[in-house]
């Protein structure tokens, strides 16, 4: 009996300190964030309780509303673009091609680079190179980053450029799990081209589709670096993502309490979307 107790004691001595560490730097700030959200704390000085005032204001604040609309537009569009292109790219990279591993390696490069520096490079591209092409085809040569109507497209493009690499690699590993004889059986039944993809390949790699959807959505909803490097939320606050707004107004704009309330809502939104996605896509998998 003593041996078992020793073993259990070892486990507890490992687990409890680490749990405390995790609590201190994850759960505790989370609780504090929730508490701050019920105050008018500016980030310094004294503060008062304001009850649910911040939450009421939040739903009436047009700047917050705009940032949610922008972030969702970006996340949904970028997720669709990235998944369609990655899937096509993965099918290509998984077919019988020459230089297979070299090509795979090269296509992955965007993913290892820092989003901030990539953002700065594209910033230059959108400001100086793209307008020149635009002039060539008879446009007015304005930068899309300066346009309230089009700046968000630039951000979608940069997000997609980096994320496609990651999603492609996941799809390739998915495609490799599809056994060769499935295709052989399929070709006997006359499945070719798109029908083969839709009825055979896609259902079999559905779990990988789920992973990619969840990963993409979550990452894009939290977009920050790209905004920082490309537009800093502008022009006219048209590209303020939720994370950027919380950072900008909460840290230096004297809205610590108010933006804490925003962060709480954002947290709930992320949890709901993640659970919804996993359940929805999980159910579909089971049916197949």
């Amino acid at each position: 009996m003593k041996k078992i107790n020793d073993r259990q004691r070892t486990f507890l001595m490992i687990t409890i300190p680490i749990l405390i560490l995790f609590f201190c730097f994850n759960t505790l700030p989370l609780i504090k964030g929730v508490i701050y959200s019920f105050t008018n704390f500016k980030g310094y000085g004294s503060y008062d309780w304001v009850g649910i005032r911040n939450y009421i204001d939040l739903f009436q604040d047009s700047r917050v509303g705009k940032s949610y609309l922008f972030t969702f537009k970006l996340a949904v569009l970028a997720t669709i673009i990235v998944n369609v292109l990655s899937l096509i790219l993965a099918l290509g990279l998984n077919s019988k091609i020459k230089f297979k591993s070299t090509l795979r390696g090269l296509y992955f490069i965007p993913n290892i680079l820092g989003a901030l520096v990539v953002g700065y490079i594209f910033n230059y591209f959108f400001t100086y190179i793209l307008p020149e092409f635009n002039k060539m085809i008879g446009g007015n040569g304005d930068s899309i980053l300066a346009s309230t109507k089009w700046a968000w497209v630039a951000i979608v493009l940069v997000c997609a450029w980096q994320s496609i690499a990651m999603n492609t690699i996941i799809y390739i590993s998915g495609l490799q799990t599809v056994p060769e004889d499935v295709y052989e059986a399929g070709s006997i039944d006359g499945a070719t081209g798109f029908a083969k993809f839709k009825n055979l390949t896609f259902p079999l790699i559905l779990p990988f589709f789920t992973i990619n959807m969840v990963l993409c959505m979550k990452n894009f909803l939290m977009v920050f670096d790209q905004i920082m490097a490309l537009t800093k939320g502008g022009p006219a606050q048209s590209t303020e993502s939720i994370s950027y707004l919380i950072y900008n107004n909460g840290m230096s704009g004297g809205q610590f309490g108010f933006q804490s309330a925003n962060a709480v809502i954002f947290f709930i939104v992320i949890v709901v979307i993640s659970i919804f996605q996993m359940n929805f896509l999980g159910n579909k998998e089971e049916q197949l």
Binding site: T10, F11, I14, T15, I18, L19, L21, F22, F25, N26, T27, P29, L30, K32, G33, G43, L89, G92, L93, I97, F99, L103, Y107, I109, N111, I112, G114, A115, L116, V117, Y120, I121, Y124, F125, I129, E132, F133, W161, M166, I170, S173, G174, F208, M222, F224, D225, M228, I242, S243, I246, Y247, G250, M251, F256, Q259, S260, A263, F266, F267, I270
Partner: protein
């Protein structure tokens, strides 16, 4: 292992090579601008994208000086390396004790769910309280950033380690126990080495994430006067002014370490990323 009759699909190969332009163009542009002098940048595409007159390293020297490159690089390496080492040690340990107990103990089951659910907590909500908290206890510096990374990556890494542990039969430990070894010693001499493939995955994922992260060092250690590589880019952006050649030399310098690392360890990085995502 090529079967006979399998033909290389040249049209797709060529399309894929052409598609590489989208990856290569921004990098090509970066290299061209980084080596040029401002006088060579006539205001048209040709001036920007043509080869420089001479491949001078002057811009890089200047960019290194302006952005305090070597110190930033040192800080980035220090933070990333320490985060990875501590993560592997601590996360594998907690993964082990949770993984071996969560099926028969409620306490470990709850601990597991508690840590893993931390994955859903966005940094945005922790950011502001953490800035206050780390400043109060004197952790608004690199040490604080490392501790935070170890906590932030814990949910994912614990998930990975407990998942991998299922493949390691418990009989191995029981054999060691019969020989009189303690659980602690058994872990380090038998289990820890056996989890090597997972250590590689955890190292790759944690390192890529911390190396390129801007937000955590930005809010936690911006008052410490120290920079990481991405943070230096952010902080010195205004100093470049309109000298884009200098700025691009600096961007290239910032990307170079991870690119070199990728060239050397490409295989490990790719398999690490796939393992991490699929598990």
């Amino acid at each position: 292992m090529k079967k006979y009759g399998e033909k290389v699909n040249w049209p797709i190969t060529i399309l894929l090579i052409l598609g590489l332009i989208t990856v290569a163009f921004p990098l090509y542009m970066t290299i061209m601008i980084a080596f040029k002098q401002p006088s060579e940048m006539t205001n048209n595409i040709h001036g920007i994208l043509s080869f420089p007159k001479s491949w001078s390293l002057e811009n890089f020297k200047e960019a290194m000086r302006v952005t305090d490159f070597w110190n930033s690089l040192g800080n980035s390496i220090f933070i990333t390396l320490l985060t990875v080492v501590v993560s592997i040690l601590i996360h594998s340990l907690i993964g082990y004790s949770i993984g071996r107990n969560k099926d028969h103990s409620k306490f470990y089951k709850i601990s597991y769910l508690y840590i893993v659910s931390g994955m859903f907590v966005p940094f945005a909500i922790l950011m502001m309280p953490l800035v206050k908290q780390t400043a109060q206890i004197g952790l608004d510096n690199m040490a604080g950033v490392i501790i935070l990374y170890v906590v932030f990556y814990m949910p994912m890494n614990v998930l990975l380690y407990t998942g991998y542990l299922k493949n390691i039969p418990i009989a191995l430990e029981e054999a060691a126990k019969v020989d009189g070894a303690s659980t602690w010693r058994t872990y380090w001499s038998i289990i820890f080495p056996l989890m090597k493939p997972m250590h590689a995955t955890v190292a790759v994922l944690t390192a890529l994430g911390t190396w390129n992260d801007v937000m955590t060092p930005l809010v936690i250690m911006s008052g410490s006067g120290k920079n990481t590589l991405p943070l230096a880019q952010l902080n010195f952006q205004t100093q470049f002014g309109t000298n884009y050649n200098l700025a691009f030399a600096s961007y290239l310098l910032a990307m170079l370490p991870i690119l070199l690392f990728y060239i050397i360890c490409q295989k490990q990085i790719l398999s690490g990323v796939v393992n991490g995502a699929v598990k």
